[in-house]
């Protein structure tokens, strides 16, 4: 109705004191919500998954209080409520339908993501260090190897080596299988596809790298180019290669590999014609 009608409803509007009370309740609920999830408050661990329905209920209460009092829907014409609730329920329905659709895939998207996940850079560095330690321990236990993998090879040291010197195929020790490293300790197969070996979809397909590598970087041989691309992936990123995304593949990802292992990988990749 007209604005005179609005004024006629003043009696139904909450008073200043009631508004302060409403604000206090909203604040209190927010503080409780924060304490529920903040680790130092010490309750989040004992709650487990029950924190989610708890938080949902508390938020729903806040939501309802703001609508009922601040937006004074409680005191207003019912049509306003129905119009708003229609939109709200449709939105809720869309959300539930979408989530059901995805969850009914039986968790496949999650498994798909897990299989192909690249750890965040920091995690990757830690992981590489752990692997290097493990390898060093294994090497110490096992029968003496011709060359021991350098467990403390940092990206900086590795980059300091000029690829031309380090990548002599002749320096490759016997016993290191490039394909094994590609799938195993190197973890390359998680992101890179090689026909008949791996199906990674994140990084460039390496199925024919043996024929393509020579022309990738002008003035650099196929061996040197592949060696550099593993040791210091961001030093040179070839153009026109699918999924060659700078920033994902960094020196940290391969820091755990010794030069011998990288050379074994180079040999393996050169064989992919």
């Amino acid at each position: 109705m007209s604005s005179s009608h609005q004024e006629g409803q003043q009696g139904h509007h909450p008073t200043f004191k009631q508004y302060v009370l409403v604000a206090t309740i909203l604040f209190a609920i927010t503080i409780v919500e924060f304490l529920l999830i903040w680790p130092r408050a010490g309750v989040v661990d004992s709650l487990g998954y029950s924190k989610i329905p708890l938080l949902a209920i508390l938020s729903a209460i806040k939501f309802a209080i703001v609508i009922a009092f601040y937006m004074h829907l409680k005191f207003d014409h019912r049509l306003f409520t129905w119009v708003f609730l229609a939109g709200l329920f449709l939105a809720f329905g869309v959300g539930v339908a979408l989530l059901t659709l995805f969850l009914s895939l039986g968790g496949e998207p999650r498994a798909y993501a897990l299989e192909r996940a690249i750890p965040y850079d920091e995690h990757a560095v830690e992981l590489a260090k752990e692997k290097a330690k493990e390898r060093a321990a294994e090497a110490a236990e096992a029968t003496p190897m011709p060359t021991e993998p350098a467990p403390d090879a940092t990206p900086a040291e590795a980059m300091a080596d000029t690829p031309t010197q380090a990548s002599e195929p002749a320096s490759k020790p016997a016993g290191l299988d490039g394909q094994e490293i590609f799938l195993g300790s190197g973890g390359c197969g998680a992101c890179h596809a090689v026909d008949g070996v791996s199906q990674g979809l994140v990084g460039p397909d390496l199925s024919h790298l043996g024929t393509e590598a020579a022309s990738r970087k002008p003035g650099t041989s196929a061996e040197d180019y592949i060696f550099e691309s593993i040791r210091d992936p961001q030093a040179f990123v070839a153009t026109g290669v699918d999924r060659a995304i700078p920033g994902i593949m960094t020196a940290a990802v391969t820091a755990g590999l010794s030069d011998d292992e990288v050379n074994a990988l180079v040999d393996f990749l050169l064989a992919q014609k």
């Binding site: 604040f27 703001v66 601040y70």
Partner: protein
């Protein structure tokens, strides 16, 4: 004030089939549709939650305490908006100006928090294109921020009218509709804060692939 009464452009006896003011009903219909807009974005975030293939993940960068503070700021702005409407109804000219400006100011602080947050995330490597988390997070919170920004502009416009003495009981409906929009932005944030920060803020990335 007298000026305000004269320029009240909604006639006292406006005829409507519902018996309700058209503009107010329109605002409620818009808010209902905006529910669906944000509902779709929130559902998208929830579907993509935990599906990112690379970092940064929420636990690496989401700062729950800081965002709790900005949530308080937004709740405060809802309270001051209510006071602005109460002052309008009482024709408390000083109150109208103070509470409108306070609401706009608090809204601006909230946006300030968001700008700093977005900038921090960008420096940490989370961009719109970094991963599914970045795409769904920035789309959702960015659109909410756009709503708040629009609300601030609306509030400042109303403040200018108030300075000219053109806001009073006769134009209370204008302030009320502005208030509805502002409170709606607040309740959307209540939902976003719970889902993206309280519940989703501690999501870690997938465990590093074992042995590739």
């Amino acid at each position: 004030m007298a000026h305000g009464v004269e320029t009240a452009h909604h006639a006292e006896e406006e005829y409507t089939t519902t018996g309700l003011n058209h503009r107010k009903l329109l605002m409620w219909v818009f808010l209902g549709s905006d529910c669906m807009f944000f509902g779709a974005l929130i559902a998208t975030y929830m579907v993509y939650r935990g599906q990112s293939l690379n970092g940064p993940y929420p636990i690496d960068i989401i700062n729950v305490p800081v965002t709790t503070i900005s949530t308080f700021v937004l709740l405060c702005s809802s309270f001051s908006m209510v006071q602005a409407l109460a002052a309008t109804n009482k024709n408390d000219q000083r109150g109208i100006k103070i509470w409108l400006l306070a609401t706009a100011f608090l809204g601006a602080i909230f946006i300030g928090f968001q700008v700093v947050e977005f900038n921090t995330f960008k420096n940490e490597g989370l961009t719109l294109g970094a991963n599914l988390f970045g795409a769904s997070f920035f789309t959702l919170t960015g659109f909410h921020g756009a709503h708040v920004t629009l609300g601030i502009i609306w509030l400042l416009g109303m403040f200018v009218l108030a300075v000219k003495g053109r806001v009073g009981p006769a134009t209370a409906l204008d302030v009320e509709i502005l208030g509805l929009y502002w409170h709606f932005v607040d309740i959307v944030w209540i939902v976003i804060f719970t889902l993206l920060y309280l519940i989703g803020g501690f999501d870690a990335g997938p465990a590093p692939a074992s042995g590739g």
